[in-house]
């Protein structure tokens, strides 16, 4: 029963184009500029098509446009794999389809593409602001879908589709929340192309001079931590992320041992303990905390020493770090128990590990090697050697974000010439020195410190990135040594800003970051409030899949599937029932009519008392006529009242029950006879 010739009407096209513009703007920041241009051309063409001013594109032109778009995408991205090319391809299809709407099903395709493309934007930006914009976009696309089905309306009716779309959105919201809370999440079914522009700031798995000083320029969020107890002292907050054991003369990178993610070397949460678990001596009470980490596209996670995972999909590695089962494509939350008091492998280091942690390239840094072996001969005690090196740092060295550029023998140049550096210089040179002196050592990369939020959680930013060292001593096991703490103790006890706040490079990449204006009271207050809102957003919405199990267990007592299904259908069913009642019951807006009827009934009673009961099926006018015949003195008033009643009740005159009531009351009817 659909009409054979379909042409989109004015109002429908209007909303379709508004939605189109909104969706394109939503994606504008990661679309090539020529697509934006093509989108405007498509819009103009579409409008001209509607006005029959231009002709629809011929098959040749359509093929040409398609080819042009594909060629553009190939030039722009090279490979079709990846999130951006995929979105760009969809957007191209979207704007070409806009020109080719011959049937209603084409219009459906356009609208459904718009829905899908809008949803994809959530992969790029998950901030609260963007989410609101996405919801706005969805409303507009819904209005476009509605516009396809409402009749064309002029003037005031033009906004009707949007109003109705908003109403449907609002009514769908409770149901959506219900589904969001209760629907079980499955893990990734297959691996998917990731964002290409992921060269975001963050700790990487290699460390060359200059890497960490670059992070010091960024105020971007790294992760947030909430502790079950009190937040430990600032100088104990070493967020261990990566162990870098291999040195090629310039760059520290992960050892093969650490890169090798064999199941034997990862202790996943919930698995039976591996043999090397007994090498860890955990003492005292653990610190329990949970971390919400920003997407890094990497697998490593951050935790305090020495951690044990308390969340599904998180594992402990052989070098006592945490890793995630999948790369972090979106924010992730995980819980950890850490034992600040611990000993790691105090009994002895396996020979192959010893080799790894003593490895040094031969041809680099002869001066350092020479000094190390000289000191080794003078001092037999390892700890004393360590304190000697640290004293060396303490004497002359300067901690700065702007270290001079180093040549081939970077450690030599740093230790003996420039003596100015950032954490990676100190950690790298220290580990080099230790290894040269025969002490197993490794660089650890991660974050140090964090900002305490008044709401009792910790915010760790990119400029908190830090590198330090770990050395292995007989009977003590692995212990942490942070040479930076010796040179710039404030860096560890407070934060980077307190040491380098005056340096121009600090936060140079985040010029408008509110962190810059910490010293302005009310602005700082605002910043902290926004921060708190974002944290809760990340915790409860973006990271909901991580806490769903625990949340549902709390809510339902147990999170078996049938209970979830019961809650979902029960609550959802009652919500729908309520909505159904509200939608389907007739609106009682004709109250004024009821009032008129009541007044007329009063008149009938009055007349009945006077001895003129209304007969069954007698109309108001006939009734009045009959009474008037026996009581001519009332005729004029009676006719007037019935005329008034009929006019208001049936003829569409503005109902005015009060006037009618007054007139009826003024009727003086005496008992006849």
């Amino acid at each position: 029963m659909t009409s054979p010739v379909w042409k989109i009407h004015r109002n429908g096209l209007f909303w379709l184009l508004v939605a189109f513009a909104a969706v394109i703007v939503l994606h504008a920041d990661h679309l090539p500029s020529w697509i934006l241009l093509a989108a405007s051309v498509a819009t103009i063409w579409r409008i001209q098509l509607y006005r029959s001013a231009w002709r629809p594109p011929s098959r040749l032109i359509k093929t040409g446009l398609l080819g042009l778009c594909l060629a553009g995408l190939v030039v722009e991205y090279g490979s079709p794999v990846g999130l951006e090319p995929m979105v760009a391809l969809l957007v191209s299809a979207y704007l070409l389809k806009l020109l080719e709407m011959h049937h209603r099903r084409d219009a459906y395709l356009v609208v459904f593409l718009a829905f899908f493309i809008t949803a994809l934007d959530a992969l790029f930006d998950q901030s609260i602001g963007n989410t609101l914009y996405i919801i706005g976009c969805l409303s507009l696309v819904l209005a476009a879908l509605l516009g396809l089905h409402s009749t064309d309306a002029d003037g005031g009716g033009q906004l009707r589709p949007l109003g109705k779309a908003m109403a449907i959105m609002a009514q769908a919201l409770p149901l959506m929340l219900l589904l969001f809370i209760f629907m079980p999440r499955l893990g990734a079914l297959w691996s998917v192309p990731m964002q290409q522009q992921s060269a975001k700031t963050g700790v990487t798995d290699t460390m060359s001079p200059g890497d960490f000083s670059r992070l010091g320029r960024s105020g971007e969020l790294a992760f947030r931590v909430s502790f079950e107890g009190a937040i430990p002292a600032q100088q104990n907050l070493y967020w261990r992320g990566l162990v870098l054991a291999e040195f090629d003369g310039r760059t520290w990178s992960r050892s093969p041992l650490s890169r090798f993610q064999d199941s034997g070397l990862v202790q996943w949460y919930g698995d039976p303990p591996k043999s090397w678990d007994q090498l860890i001596e955990r003492k005292g009470e653990p610190l329990a905390f949970s971390v919400v980490i920003e997407p890094t596209q990497q697998r490593w996670l951050y935790a305090l020493d020495t951690p044990k995972p308390d969340s599904e999909g998180v594992g402990l590695t052989r070098d006592y770090r945490l890793i995630s089962a999948y790369p972090l494509r979106s924010k992730k939350q995980y819980r950890v128990n850490s034992w600040p008091e611990h000993r790691l492998e105090p009994q002895g280091l396996p020979p192959q590990h010893r080799t790894v942690y003593l490895q040094l390239p031969e041809e680099f840094n002869p001066r350092t090697r020479e000094l190390a072996s000289r000191w080794r001969k003078m001092v037999s005690d390892d700890l004393e050697l360590v304190s000697r090196v640290l004293t060396l740092y303490n004497s002359e060295f300067v901690y700065t974000l702007q270290p001079p550029i180093l040549g081939k023998h970077s450690v030599d140049e740093f230790l003996f010439d420039s003596q100015r550096g950032f954490c990676e210089h100190f950690a790298g040179s220290f580990v080099f020195f230790m290894r040269a002196a025969g002490i197993p050592a490794r660089v650890v990369a991660g974050y140090q410190g964090g900002e305490r939020h008044p709401d009792d959680y910790l915010v760790v930013r990119q400029y908190d990135a830090h590198a330090w060292a770990e050395i292995w001593l007989e009977d003590r096991g692995w212990i942490r040594v942070d040479p930076t703490a010796v040179v710039a103790p404030q860096r560890i006890e407070q934060d980077l800003q307190s040491v380098l706040g005056s340096e121009t490079d600090f936060l140079a990449d985040s010029p408008v970051s509110l962190v810059r204006f910490r010293h302005i009271g009310w602005l700082n207050q605002l910043r902290l409030q926004i921060e708190s809102l974002n944290y809760n957003w990340a915790l409860w919405v973006l990271g909901y899949d991580q806490i769903q199990t625990a949340f549902l267990r709390n809510l339902l007592g147990d999170n078996s599937l049938w209970r979830i299904a019961l809650a979902l259908t029960g609550v959802g069913g009652s919500l729908l029932l309520l909505l159904g009642f509200w939608l389907l019951l007739p609106r009682r807006r004709e109250r004024s009519r009821d009032l008129l009827d009541r007044e007329f009934l009063r008149l009938c009673q009055k007349l009945e008392k006077a001895g003129f009961p209304r007969q069954v099926g007698e109309g108001p006018r006939d009734y009045a006529q009959r009474v008037a015949e026996s009581r001519p003195e009332l005729a004029r008033e009676l006719v007037e009242v019935t005329r008034m009643y009929e006019a208001m009740r049936y003829a569409g005159e503005t109902p005015d029950a009060r006037t009618l009531a007054r007139t009826i009351r003024s009727l003086r009817i005496n008992r006849s006879g």
Partner: protein
């Protein structure tokens, strides 16, 4: 070609529908009379939801998951909105204007609602006939005229009225097929008898011809030379047998202006053809404002010129020989 299978199911459906929605003068659209099912677009929308879910799951993105939930919720809420667009509406037929077979006639329907709900884009049609899309504004009563082209004369049942709505989102089709017990009085398709085969008629032009065909006065007025086309019934066989030549008998008189629509004027034709020609003649006569009568086998209506007379004649033409006379007036 309709496959027998399909035919069988259509038959089953019609029987079931007749049972569920028996004919009634007024039908209220409610859960009993309305049907709802996802449209093709609705199923495509579900595909979209699945796609979004796959993205959300594979990227482990809770925001996309939330959007998936929102789309699902919209789909569910759309069920209620689609249903509400038709539910609570009273449909009855207010007037059927009679017409001729093969020509469109209009059926006026009244749609009533007790509240003031705005209903958009309702599509009404009798199966296989013209579609009408209407909005029902906040008024309580809306009248809509539907076209219907009957094939045969008689008291015709236009079939079930289809009322359908895709509003608001097109994801669900809500429809009903109600039998409002409508009977349209359909007159025979008028066939014009006038062609210029006779030029030398006593009266000139059409009028002469009509009179010639219809003059059916009781009195024999004389003979004239036979002209090809004269009714064989009027041939003066007696004279012919006497070999006096071929003559045509003439009845009636020039003074007697009464004309007769006579069944017997069209010998050799079948019933429908005769009725069509009589109907066509009637339509040609009415503007002449002369009294006319109707002679059908077993029925004679005396000549008259009034409007009610005309309607009665048309009615007899429409119902001649049919068993269903819709309760004789």
């Amino acid at each position: 070609m309709i496959s027998p299978f399909r035919q069988f199911f259509q038959h089953l459906y019609a029987r079931w529908l007749g049972h569920r929605l028996p004919p009634a003068r007024q039908i209220k659209l409610n859960t009993r009379s309305l049907f709802i099912f996802p449209s093709k677009a609705g199923f495509s929308f579900l595909l979209l939801v699945v796609l979004c879910w796959l993205v959300a799951t594979n990227y482990e993105n809770n925001l996309v998951f939330g959007i998936t939930c929102l789309l699902t919720a919209i789909f569910v809420v759309a069920i209620l909105h689609s249903f509400a667009n038709l539910s609570g509406l009273n449909i009855s037929c207010s007037r059927v204007s009679p017409g001729h077979a093969g020509h469109p006639l209009t059926i006026e329907l009244v749609l009533q609602q007790s509240g003031k709900r705005l209903r958009e884009n309702l599509i009404l049609a009798f199966a296989g006939h013209e579609l009408v899309a209407i909005d029902i504004a906040a008024t309580e009563e809306t009248r809509v005229k539907l076209g219907f082209v009957p094939v045969n004369r008689g008291l015709i049942d236009p079939g079930r009225l289809c009322v359908e709505s895709l509003y608001p989102l097109g994801l669900f089709r809500v429809w009903t097929q109600v039998d409002l017990n409508i009977r349209c009085l359909v007159y025979p398709s008028p066939q014009t008898v006038l062609n210029r085969r006779t030029t030398s008629s006593p009266l000139d032009g059409d009028e002469g011809l009509i009179v010639q065909i219809l003059e059916g006065g009781e009195d024999f007025t004389g003979l004239s030379d036979y002209r090809p086309g004269d009714s064989p019934k009027r041939i003066a066989w007696k004279q012919f047998a006497r070999e006096q030549g071929l003559y045509t008998k003439h009845y009636g008189s020039a003074q007697d202006e009464r004309l007769w629509l006579d069944w017997d004027a069209f010998p050799g034709l079948d019933t429908e053809a005769r009725l069509s020609r009589l109907c066509g003649l009637l339509l040609s006569i009415v503007p002449l404002d002369v009294p006319y009568g109707l002679k059908l086998p077993g029925l004679t209506i005396a000549p008259n010129t009034t409007d009610s007379h005309r309607l009665q004649v048309l009615r007899e033409l429409a119902l001649f020989g049919l068993s269903d006379r819709g309760g004789e007036r």
